[in-house]
Symmetry: C2
Subunit: 259 residues, 2 copies
C-alpha cells in the first residue's frame, strides 16, 4: 500500500538544472514529499563511480518555486544517493527516482549510465528505485509525451513495491505526444558501442582524442528493450546488482580450474 | 588451445606505476606479448565511468626494462580498454587482465571497481577478460603469494577460453606465501557498505565530507566469494554485463503494470 505522503528522493546525472529532472520533480510533487539531491554539474558516462580520493560538498539550492527541498553536491550520482541517505534525509525514502535522462539508457548503456548508477545505488541500500530515460539527447527534449507514463509507473511501484534487489530501468522512445504504444517488460538487449575515436591536435601540436561511437545491436529478440523502443513502446527492464553469471558456475567448476 | 604467443592487454585502476600492475606485467611477460594501457593516475572507485565530456591523452611510457609496450592515458580504466582496442593495438588481444588491484573487489565492490570495469569493458568488446585483486589495500602489499595462482588462471583461460559474455572476478585473501588453500568458483555475496561520512570544516569554515564506510555482509553462504576469502581460498566469480533480473520478468508482467 502506498504511504499517505511517500518520501521521494529525486536525483539524476545531467545535473540539478537539467530539464529532465525539473520535469521529474514537478511530477513527483503531485505524489509525495520530494527531496532532490543531484550533481551540481553534468555527470554523464560516470557509471557507478564514487568519490573516494577527494572531498564532497553539499549545497542547499532553490531552483524554482516548488515545495521540494533541494541540494546539489560536487559528487557523482551514486555519491548523491549515499549523501541523501546518510547525511541529508532523516528517514529512509519510500522511493528513489533518477532522471529523466536526456538520452537512452537501454541495453548496454545501463553499464555506463550515471542515471542508472544512482538508481542501482538506492537499490543496494534497500530503497525501491526507478531510472527514467528519454531517447532524445537534446537539452530541450520534449518530456510532455512521457509524463503520464512516469506518474503511472511511480504510483504503481509505490503501491505494489518492487522485489528485493530489483531496480527498474525505464526508457521512452522519442515520439510525439499520444504516440507511445504502451509499456513492455523486457530484458536488456545484447548490443554494444563500436568506438570511433576522433583524433585531433591541440594548438601546440599535441594529439588528443574525443570518444565517439556507433551503437550496434544484432539482437532482434522481441523480448528485448531495443525491440520495444524501436517499435514505439516504452521499455521496462528489471535489473539486478548481482553480476554473477549463475548459469556458468557449474561449467567453470567442471573445468577443474586450479591454482 | 593457447595461441603460440598470445597478445595480452594489461590494465588496472591504481595507475600504471602501482606495484600490483608491475607484478602482473612481469608475470604476463612470461606467457605472451604484453601491451599495457593504464591510467596515468589512480582511478579507484571509478566504476564503469567513461570520458565523454572531456578529451583523452595517450602517452608512450617506459617504466622498467621489460619487453612490454606501455601507454598511459588520462582516462578511466574503461577508456583504457577502448583506446587500446581501437587506437593502440593492431589486432584484437587474446586476453585482457586487469589489476592486480590493491584491495578487495569481492561481493558488492565489483560495482564500484575500476579494475573490474576495465575487465567488463573488454568482455563487452568480445575479449576474454579477468580482473585480479588482493585483499590488501597497502601500496606495499606483498603480491608474491598470489603469483603462481595468477599465472595458472591466465594459462588455463588462454587454453580453454571463457564462455561468451563471461568475465572472471578473482580475489585473493591477504595471506602469507603458501597459505592460500586453493581456488573456489563462487557467486557474488550479498553485502553492502554502510556509509559513514566524515564531516569536516575547511580553514574558511565551509563544511565538506569524506566518504568512508563499514563493509557489512549477512550472507554466510559457503558458495559466496566472501565465505571463500574468509576461509583462506581465492574466489573466482564468473560475472556478466547483462543486468536483467531475468527471474523477475514474469512477476513484473503479472502485475499488469501499464502507462
Amino acid at each position: 500500500m502506498m504511504p499517505e505522503r511517500p518520501l521521494i528522493l529525486v536525483t539524476n546525472d545531467d545535473g540539478i538544472t537539467a530539464p529532465g529532472i525539473r520535469t521529474l520533480i514537478r511530477l513527483m510533487n503531485a505524489i509525495g514529499e520530494v527531496v532532490v539531491v543531484a550533481p551540481d554539474s553534468p555527470q554523464s558516462g560516470m557509471g557507478h563511480a564514487i568519490t573516494v580520493n577527494t572531498t564532497l560538498q553539499v549545497k542547499k539550492e532553490r531552483v524554482d518555486d516548488g515545495p521540494q527541498l533541494e541540494y546539489s553536491t560536487s559528487g557523482t550520482p551514486a555519491d548523491c544517493v549515499k549523501l541523501a541517505k546518510h547525511e541529508i534525509l532523516d528517514r529512509i525514502p519510500d522511493l528513489c527516482v533518477s532522471g529523466i535522462n536526456h538520452g537512452s539508457n537501454s541495453s548496454i548503456n545501463v553499464i555506463y549510465s550515471g542515471t542508472m548508477s544512482a538508481a542501482i545505488e538506492a537499490g543496494i541500500e534497500g530503497i525501491p528505485a526507478i531510472g527514467f530515460s528519454l531517447c532524445d539527447y537534446n537539452w530541450d527534449a520534449d518530456f510532455e509525451p512521457v509524463e503520464e507514463y512516469v506518474t503511472s509507473i511511480v504510483t504503481q511501484v509505490l503501491d505494489k513495491g518492487l522485489p528485493k534487489g530489483v531496480i527498474l530501468n525505464v526508457n521512452f522512445p522519442d515520439m510525439p505526444d499520444g504516440q507511445i504504444r504502451g509499456l513492455k517488460i523486457c530484458r536488456q538487449a545484447r548490443a554494444n558501442w563500436v568506438e570511433e575515436f576522433d583524433k585531433r591536435r591541440n594548438p601546440q601540436g599535441k594529439e588528443y582524442y574525443w570518444l565517439t561511437g556507433k551503437f550496434v545491436t544484432e539482437d532482434d529478440g522481441s523480448d528485448s528493450d531495443e525491440w520495444a523502443l524501436r517499435n514505439g513502446y516504452a521499455s521496462v527492464v528489471p535489473i539486478t546488482f548481482d553480476l554473477t553469471a549463475h548459469e556458468h558456475i557449474q561449467e567453470l567448476k567442471s573445468w577443474g580450474i586450479h591454482g
